[in-house]
Symmetry: C2
Subunit: 123 residues, 2 copies
């Protein structure tokens, strides 16, 4: 009979979560974007997240992120409101989330260089 | 006509590598173990890495890690010797590798608690 945590959806104890599980969860670009947005916004419901996928997909990703231990989700009436478990994550994996969220985007790959005068027919 | 880099296998420019690609590569426990071992050992050939998988699997993972941008591999005679691109990685993703390599292993999940006197037949 839980009373205090009644409105909080189930989530793992971070001590039991392997780093590989967290990396796997954040390797997906949409899930990473969700964590980025939630880190900035503080808390958000599914429909409040500006990501270029269907709402059902966002909902699925939110569930994955909660089950992985990255998000905490509370029921407020009929709405599920999520936030990043930032302090707990920083204790369990010091520096990890900061380094991932601060990563600069990649620059597009440059076209392959042609050696001056070195072309030998393979065009 | 490359001369200086003749013995180095192809590798991406880290500026062109997305954080998600790196996370995906390190999410695999064997690949993470390989990077951990190489970080400690400095350099190693495929057969010098103590991981619980077949040598052909290690070889495949080494290739994935090189193509992702995590490792640099040189041909020395018939041997491929790899090392972590640590300095470059630290410049591109500050703090990332340290936080991942320093992560403590997870503790096994505790068995579900039974509420004293709260059992209602579901054993």
């Amino acid at each position: 009979m839980r009373t205090l945590d009644q409105a909080r959806l189930p989530q793992p104890d971070l001590a039991e979560v392997e780093i590989g599980t967290v990396l796997q969860a954040l390797a997906d670009p949409v899930r990473l974007q969700i964590v980025r947005l939630l880190s900035r916004q503080g808390t958000a419901a599914c429909g409040e997240l500006d990501v270029p996928v269907k709402r059902s997909t966002v909902s699925h990703h939110l569930r994955t992120l909660r089950e992985t231990g990255l998000l905490e989700t509370h029921l407020k009436g009929n709405t599920r409101v999520s936030k990043v478990r930032r302090e707990e994550l920083d204790r369990r994996f010091p520096g990890l989330l900061a380094s991932i969220l601060d990563a600069a985007p990649a620059v597009p790959a440059a076209p392959p260089e042609e050696e001056p005068g070195g072309a030998d027919g393979e065009r």
